[in-house]
């Protein structure tokens, strides 16, 4: 059985979905306004999303959220009922409200302050959109209003029964009760009312059947009976009235209260004992005219709703993520197991066209297919991520005082859930940068003959087994002269460096680099593109930047589809098998002795086309043997790392290149520096997957100019 906490979690999960559909709906609304084709069902959907958030929030006593959602909902209801036309500027406010609502949900979920302080301003704007008559006060949380009949203005008269010291004395209520035809038609039963009254105290009933016609004239659906009831109870009048709460207007009801004569010393008894003191406290007549078919608007709504039912709703199940991960793990094991079997069969001379060989081939194909399909379960579309970025663009453009249009493409591209989650921060940073630094100020744009509205574009696409995410802007492009100047000033590069354009662009990824002239809300947080880069790299991804002066900048992120498998280069290091992620490898080379140079600090560098690249000996790094003297007989894997431009990892031999199933080590061993994870190879051996970046940093050697040619020594 679910606990309150589980339901709370459900609520926040549901909120995420509702916020997404809210965003969707509002965006559809925005484009529908342009085309002048507003679909009422879209407006209804938007209203419902906010309404549901409010409903759940009220159940959990989230006052702030309820208040804002209520105001938002009130205005949306105006649109829904046609009292307010949804113009573009109004939808823009709605979008901001949706952002703020998301902020409030997040704040309630994590018990933190909302990030944005836009609340009061948005509430004010919303209030301005409401026609006075529609404004309803924000509801009190968790305290349903006392039942008030809007027609009779009747309110429970608890004060009439304030008997002072004699309060404990049972009261006698005389109730005349005449149900109407409609009373029965809507599922009520007089007997059930009597039972409920009986629960309160002692009840006597007297039926008045004088209106009952002859059997032949009897209409089975008509109501002919009236009852006189006497209830003696210690309960309050309110409790008695509550029994009739649902049938107000469906019966003629008269409740008179008279306290039973008991021995009470209090003089008040005199006032309340006799019939003379009886007080009519409730009366309502049946209103048969109240039962025409419901208002036309209700009908159309229902019909439209029914029409929309044809919308293809895909069936889906909710599965615990842990279950999916376990499944992925098992399938991973299965793939490995298949590889082990294939190896055994091969070693036994049973491979190729033998029956076992053919069977194993089929097994391999099925295992792969199974693996791909299981991976697909974890995949999610990038759409929520993109929507979140739309929000970031709005925030950033507001703060920077720039007007920006935001386009997206490829929202349906699917990526592993974890990848999506871990993309949020880097992508947020890139998008903010694009708005803050990428796009010029409006005057500068006009001066350059561009539209004053800047454009930021976010796209996703599948490219050869990877996902490509691109953020581009139509701003001024990277000011390379300035970038270089800053890099020199900050001591990141020597003053006399000669760098080509792409090398200058890459300077942006160096730690501590920031081009912002003024420290703004957006960029003044001490993190730069280097953080973005290491975040992407930790996902097995790569990030690239390209820019055309005056035209804009594009940042491209290339990511693996999943974090469960990895394309690796299987290498031999001092008799050990290791795996280096292919994505990190720029090229592989077998150095000639002439390219190797020993440097002062004791390290060795290799000359690769005009550049000296320090060599990291994996065998030494992992303590398998002392550093070798002769790298010319080894293979070097050129890798890019965040800290240093390039390193060359020295290995004994390259085995092959293959997809490996990643097995985390952290839960068993904690974090091992230089080791990203492990995998099980086809022969059943375990191989470490190395983290080139960390391995290089572990060496903690800075590149230095070679002081002597060591080729003759080696």
């Amino acid at each position: 059985m679910s606990s309150t906490l589980d339901i709370r979690n459900t609520f926040f999960q549901e909120c995420e979905e509702l916020l997404e559909s809210l965003d969707d709906g509002l965006n559809m609304l925005a484009s529908a306004i342009e085309d002048d084709l507003v679909d009422p069902e879209v407006v209804n959907g938007v209203f419902r999303a906010v309404h549901s958030i409010k409903g759940g929030a009220a159940a959990f006593g989230l006052d702030v959220l309820v208040r804002f959602a209520h105001q938002f909902e009130t205005v949306l209801d105006e649109v829904r009922s046609g009292r307010l036309a949804p113009a573009a500027d109004i939808v823009a406010i709605f979008l901001r409200c949706a952002d703020y609502l998301a902020d409030l949900v997040n704040s309630a979920r994590n018990s933190v302050e909302p990030k944005s302080a836009a609340g009061p301003d948005l509430l004010k704007r919303l209030a301005q959109l409401v026609t006075p008559s529609a404004a309803t006060p924000a509801p009190a949380v968790a305290s349903p209003p006392a039942p008030v009949d809007t027609e009779t203005g009747f309110q429970p008269l608890a004060i009439a029964l304030d008997f002072g010291p004699g309060f404990d004395a049972p009261a006698e209520y005389r109730i005349r009760f005449a149900p109407s035809r409609q009373f029965y038609a809507v599922g009520n039963d007089a007997v059930l009312i009597f039972r409920a009254l009986q629960d309160l105290g002692e009840l006597t009933t007297q039926v008045d059947a004088s209106l009952l016609p002859d059997l032949k004239d009897l209409d089975w659906a008509e109501s002919y009976l009236t009852w006189d009831l006497t209830l003696t109870t210690q309960e309050s009048l309110t409790a008695v009235q509550e029994v009739f709460e649902f049938v107000e207007g469906l019966c003629a009801l008269e409740i008179t209260a008279a306290q039973v004569e008991v021995d009470l010393p209090d003089p008040l008894t005199v006032d309340t004992s006799a019939d003379a003191a009886a007080e009519i406290v409730a009366e309502s007549e049946p209103k048969p005219e109240e039962t025409p078919p419901p208002s036309p608007s209700g009908k159309t709504e229902a019909r439209k709703g029914a029409a929309a039912s044809g919308n293809g709703q895909k069936g889906s199940v909710r599965v615990d993520l842990e279950l999916v991960d376990r499944l992925i793990n098992i399938v991973g094991e299965l793939v490995i197991n298949q590889a082990v079997l294939a190896q055994c069969a091969h070693d036994a001379g049973l491979g190729g066209q033998s029956e076992i060989g053919v069977g194993l081939d089929e097994f391999r194909n099925l295992a792969r297919e199974l693996q791909e399909n299981v991976m697909a379960i974890r995949a999610q579309s990038v759409k929520p991520l993109f929507q979140r970025m739309a929000r970031i663009v709005r925030e950033a453009s507001d703060l920077a005082g720039k007007s920006v249009t935001f386009d997206t493409e490829g929202e349906s591209v699917e990526v592993d859930k974890t990848v999506i989650e871990r993309l949020v921060d880097p992508l947020t940073h890139i998008i903010r940068n694009a708005v803050d630094h990428g796009l010029e100020a409006q005057e500068a744009r006009l001066a350059a003959g561009k539209s004053e509205v800047g454009r930021v574009r976010l796209t996703a696409a599948h490219r050869s087994g990877r996902v490509l995410i691109e953020v581009s802007d139509d701003g001024g492009g990277i000011n390379r002269a300035k970038v270089k100047q800053i890099a020199i000033r900050k001591g990141l590069i020597p003053e006399d460096s000669v760098l080509d354009d792409s090398a200058i662009d890459k300077l942006l990824f160096l730690p501590g680099f920031s081009t912002a002239e003024k420290v703004t809300d957006l960029s003044g947080r001490g993190v730069g593109m280097d953080v973005v880069r290491s975040a992407i790299q930790s996902l097995g991804g790569r990030v690239n930047i390209s820019s055309t002066p005056g035209k804009g900048t594009t940042i491209t992120i290339s990511l693996p589809l999943t974090l469960a498998v990895l394309d690796g280069m299987v290498v031999d290091v001092a008799g050990q098998t290791m795996v280096v992620p292919i994505t990190a490898i720029v090229e592989t080379l077998r150095p000639s002795a002439a390219d190797l140079h020993r440097v002062a600090a004791g390290g060795v560098v290799v000359a690769v086309r005009e550049h000296f690249v320090p060599i990291v000996d994996l065998a030494e790094t992992f303590g398998h043997r002392p550093a070798t003297a002769d790298y010319s007989k080894m293979v070097l894997l050129l890798v890019e790392s965040g800290e240093q431009e390039r390193w060359a990892l020295a290995v004994d031999r390259i085995h092959d290149q293959r997809q490996v199933v990643i097995k985390g080590l952290e839960s068993n061993y904690g974090h091992v520096p230089g080791v990203a994870a492990a995998t099980i190879l086809g022969d059943g051996k375990i191989a470490l997957i190395i983290d080139p970046d960390e391995t290089a940093q572990r060496m903690q050697r800075k590149p230095q100019a070679p002081i002597a040619r060591v080729s003759e020594e080696v």
Binding site: I7, Q13, R48, A59, P144, P145, G187
Partner: protein
Amino acid sequence: MLTVLAIDDSRTIREMLRETLVNAGFDVHLAVDGQDGLDKLQSIQPHVIITDINMPRLDGFGVIEAVRAGSAFSALPILVLTTESAPDLKDRARKSGATGWIVKPFDDTKLVSAIRRITAH
């Protein structure tokens, strides 16, 4: 055992209803919107329906109208889950044939006693 069909498009509210009603010893069936509720009516044969108003596909009024218009369940007690944002809703619910109403956020005890009050359980 009393069989309840609870219709609400909010998963949160559905779970709350289920929790409350199962604890009260009822046989609880859930539907995600009005149309879903009507589709399930025949197979579930509930003693009482609890329905939200604002729902996609078919709203609560639609449910009430359809139930009252059909012959097999026309006298079935229907409780409407109303929200405070619609003061005239109670009225409208009654006009379309609702038996009673529960204000959201609902109080567990009140909900259960309201159900008992309008059913013979």
